[in-house]
């Protein structure tokens, strides 16, 4: 665990520009080493969480994680308020710049609360203890005769009380109490944790005053748009700027080189032709008027439909064995009463956050300042130091609000673009992607094909399980020519399959990347959960068993896997979300004609989640009527926020199940905008019922992502239940079902 330290006021002022006396505490949190982090981050003691109690009583928390709608600013603040016994009104949150002092700031992997809750609580408790010590001295009583409540320290003998702010200056002179003397509150005494807290940013969100990246305005800034090659990694052969140059407001047009990242880290930028103008619209118009001839390069013949066929073929044949084999599947298949096989497919997907990628940059010769909606400001900063050869300490990355991230904004190519343009034009500039740019030049969620074969004995018990999967790896974006899934990808639902099946074999087939591949909310879990849950449903039907009972039987005896980890897998908790969801959805009761229920259960980001979906199918058109989700995410920090996240995850999962498909022809993406890359809308939105398991004594686990992967398989299983038709290839729109 991290050490809590007092931070020198002068250093703090230097770092944050926040002047005022009082206590400033900092502590460091180590990164989650199991997760994949593309860039090197500094190790050793770097306080990366800060709170500042000022003399006026205000408490400022420095949020080192990016806010993209997951509510982290509020969640972190509530942990401090809880242990400090603060009045919520006095708490405010400042967004941290990108700096290695904050440790790993990469906001992904649903890990912010998981890694930061405990240190935040300890800092709050430390500050409280220091305030009590000062007050006890003033009253000349024992600290045990004092308590803190609602921003005051109270003398329990005389009922006198002193305001936190009035104690701050003296408290700052005290040494930090020893960690072993710090006592955290008991679950039953919580006032903030586990309750329903509203977002700390609601006023700005409802008045249009929250500053997202695209809202940054710097005096005399220019606006820029870039046309990038429609084929991944293609380059400019020639271009004619005559027509574009005549667009009113356009001031400059030039070629942007491709900046190739060094192997193993960073994102670089694609290059293309940049149009600089005095407003965004003019830059967009200039882009349309450009006449560019491309060297399309190695990916020019890429066709995603052909690739789907190729992957589908490959998964029918033996692939590379993935460790974790048990027994012998072939023997099991030969000896079985029945075998079932099926092939599943999920297309490429784009994140499409409502705020398109954008960044504002000012290259000032020896310094760079950036304002951007980035999930990973440190990688952005390191990238800039690398590509522009400026010492990293001279680079400031200011993190704005993110208008959605979903993984897209952890890739900082758009930041590199803004800096490259600012350097060239010697002025501050904002680069804005059009929606078409966002859809057509993204880092895509990988398409996948998977083949499953299972065997049943005469009692309908599963005796063998073979799963073969192929998908272009995210690693290909860092190490070109990576053609197999990496460990962190395969461990997302595939190798950590919890079912107790005697004969078990996993294989991975080759899948080359012809687009930039990147992680998107829930990542590989999306296809893992789709394949496994769809196939379990098929096996259950073949065994003539109820799917819920069938999942329970597959789990076998209650057990704990990865016992040494802080977050061991507990099959009891997995079973519990399954049965709880089934119960809340009235699983097994008779439904109206044309309606069907489907279930899916999955373990991701250390959380257990099960979803039941009710669909109605009329004239082959599917409507999602109800979604019931139960999550066990350990300690539920902010319940209303968790509900909001899971409601949103249900809609996100629906979008990919119903409409999600990015395809490529002759290397270029064929979708353009929201009219052909569609999203779930209000009229499609079902009734969503969220249930959070009371597990307040368990450590907190992921919330932002786990709600997504279960949705598509639950929908497809519900369609089968309603119609007897299996959907094995997403999305439904391709099958004329929406």
């Amino acid at each position: 665990m991290s050490t809590i330290q007092k931070i020198d006021r002068r250093d703090f002022v230097k770092l944050f520009g926040l002047a005022s006396g009082g206590i400033i505490l900092g502590c460091s949190v180590a990164a989650d080493s199991k997760d994949f982090i593309p860039s090197a981050h500094i190790t050793g003691f770097n306080p990366n969480l800060f709170i500042h109690l000022q003399k006026n009583g205000n408490i400022i928390l420095i949020a080192s994680r990016s806010e993209m709608g997951q509510g982290i600013r509020t969640s972190l603040a509530s942990a401090i308020a809880e242990e400090l016994e603060a009045d919520w009104q006095y708490i405010s949150v400042e967004q941290a710049i990108g700096h290695e002092k904050y440790g790993n700031q990469n906001t992904d992997g649903s890990r912010s609360v998981r890694t930061r809750l405990e240190p935040m609580r300890k800092m709050g408790a430390t500050a409280k203890m220091m305030l009590i010590t000062v007050a006890a001295k003033k009253w000349n009583i024992a600290t045990t005769a004092c308590k803190a409540a609602n921003h005051f320290v109270i003398n329990t003998i005389t009922n006198e009380q002193i305001f936190f702010g009035d104690l701050a200056a003296d408290a700052a002179k005290l040494p930090i109490p020893k960690e072993k003397n710090i006592q955290l509150k008991k679950v039953k005494d919580f006032k903030f944790i586990g309750k329903n807290l509203k977002s700390i940013d609601l006023k700005d969100f409802t008045h249009g005053t929250a500053t997202y990246g695209i809202d940054v305005r710097i005096p005399n800034m220019k606006f820029a748009a870039i046309t990038r090659c429609p084929v991944t990694f293609g380059t400019v052969k020639t271009f004619n700027k005559d027509k574009a140059g005549k667009v009113a407001g356009v001031e400059a047009i030039f070629e942007m080189p491709r900046l190739l990242p060094p192997t193993g880290k960073f994102f670089g930028m694609l290059g293309g032709v940049a149009v600089i103008a005095n407003n965004t619209w003019a830059a967009f118009q200039g882009k349309i008027a450009l006449n560019i001839e491309w060297n399309k390069g190695v990916n020019e013949n890429f066709d995603s439909e052909e690739f789907k066929k190729t992957l589908t073929k490959r998964v029918q044949k033996i692939g590379k064995l993935v460790p974790g084999i048990r027994g012998n599947v072939n023997t099991a298949f030969d000896a079985s009463a029945k075998t079932i096989e099926a092939t599943y497919h999920v297309p490429f997907l784009a994140h499409a956050p409502m705020e398109v990628p954008n960044a504002t940059a000012w290259f000032k010769g020896d310094k760079i300042e950036v304002w951007a909606p980035v999930q990973d400001p440190q990688t952005a900063r390191s990238e800039l130091a690398h590509f522009f050869e400026i010492p990293i300490e001279n680079i400031t990355v200011n993190v704005t609000f993110l208008g959605g991230g979903f993984g897209r904004k952890s890739k900082s190519d758009f930041v590199v673009e803004a800096v490259a343009i600012s350097k060239k034009i010697n002025a501050p500039v904002q680069v804005v992607w059009t929606r078409e740019d966002d859809i057509q030049n993204s880092f895509y969620h990988a398409t996948s094909a998977q083949y499953l074969k299972g065997s049943l004995d005469r009692q309908g018990k599963v005796t063998g399980w073979l799963q073969r999967v192929g998908f272009p790896s995210i690693v290909s974006s860092f190490k070109p020519l990576s053609e197999y899934g990496s460990g962190f990808e395969l461990n997302q639902g595939f190798t950590n399959n919890p079912y107790a099946i005697e004969n078990f074999r996993l294989e991975n087939v080759k899948a080359e990347a012809n687009l930039r591949i990147g992680w998107m909310r829930s990542v590989v879990h999306i296809h893992s959960a789709f394949g496994i849950n769809s196939f379990v449903d098929e096996l259950a039907f073949a065994a003539q068993k109820d799917p819920v009972q069938f999942h329970l039987d597959l789990l076998g005896k209650d057990r704990i896997i990865e016992g040494k980890s802080k977050f061991p897998f507990n099959s009891k908790r997995f079973k519990n979300v399954l049965t709880t969801t089934a119960k809340t959805a009235n699983w097994g009761e008779k439904l109206p004609k044309g309606h069907g229920l489907g279930i899916a259960v999955h373990y991701s980001f250390y959380s257990y989640i099960a979803t039941v979906v009710e669909v109605s199918v009329l004239d082959k058109k599917v409507k999602v009527e109800n979604i019931w989700t139960t999550i066990d995410c350990g300690l539920a920090l902010n319940k209303d926020n968790i509900k909001n996240q899971l409601e949103g995850a249900a809609i996100f999962g629906m979008s990919l199940a119903l409409y999600g498909k990015i395809s490529a022809k002759e290397g270029a993406i064929t979708q353009n905008n929201f009219y052909d890359y569609q999203m779930t809308r209000m009229k499609d939105a079902p009734k969503i019922h969220i249930n959070i398991v009371d597990a307040m004594h368990e450590p907190p686990t992921g919330v932002g992502e786990p709600g997504v992967p279960v949705i598509a398989p639950a929908i497809c299983n519900a369609i089968f239940n309603a119609t007897g038709e299996r959907v094995r290839s997403l999305p439904l729109s391709e099958l004329g079902m929406v």
Partner: protein
Amino acid sequence: MDINLSINGKLHAVQVQEDMPLLWVIRDIIGLTGTKFGCGVSQCGACSVLIDGKLTKSCGIPVSDAIEKDIFTIEGNSENLEFLRQAWTDGNVPQCGYCQSGQLIAATSLLDLIEKPTDKDIDEAMSANICRCGTYTRIKKGIHTAVKLKNETK
């Protein structure tokens, strides 16, 4: 050309191309950034404003069509918008918040037209606005809450 625009009751004199979409005049020329860019093709509703009370996607109309009309944006104030803001707060509606300017303007327009909208009215009126975070359940509830809040103050 020289154009006078009335936004939230305030006059703005701007010099712009007459075919520039109103969205970009509001954001880049006048500097009111609460109205958002989402798609540029009237598909997502992030840029919604009211023009003479009529719900309009500001990315889809040239500024010349807004001359001598009253433009209302998220930075403005109206009775229905205030109740909606309160309801959005009570229901903790936003996640990332980006689309909510447009959602609130579209909801304002709905309440301006229909005093007590049904779920079906809401589905029809609000389906032009995309929320990628997926806050539809809360938006729908928020509109009903705003109606309730308004009735309670009567």
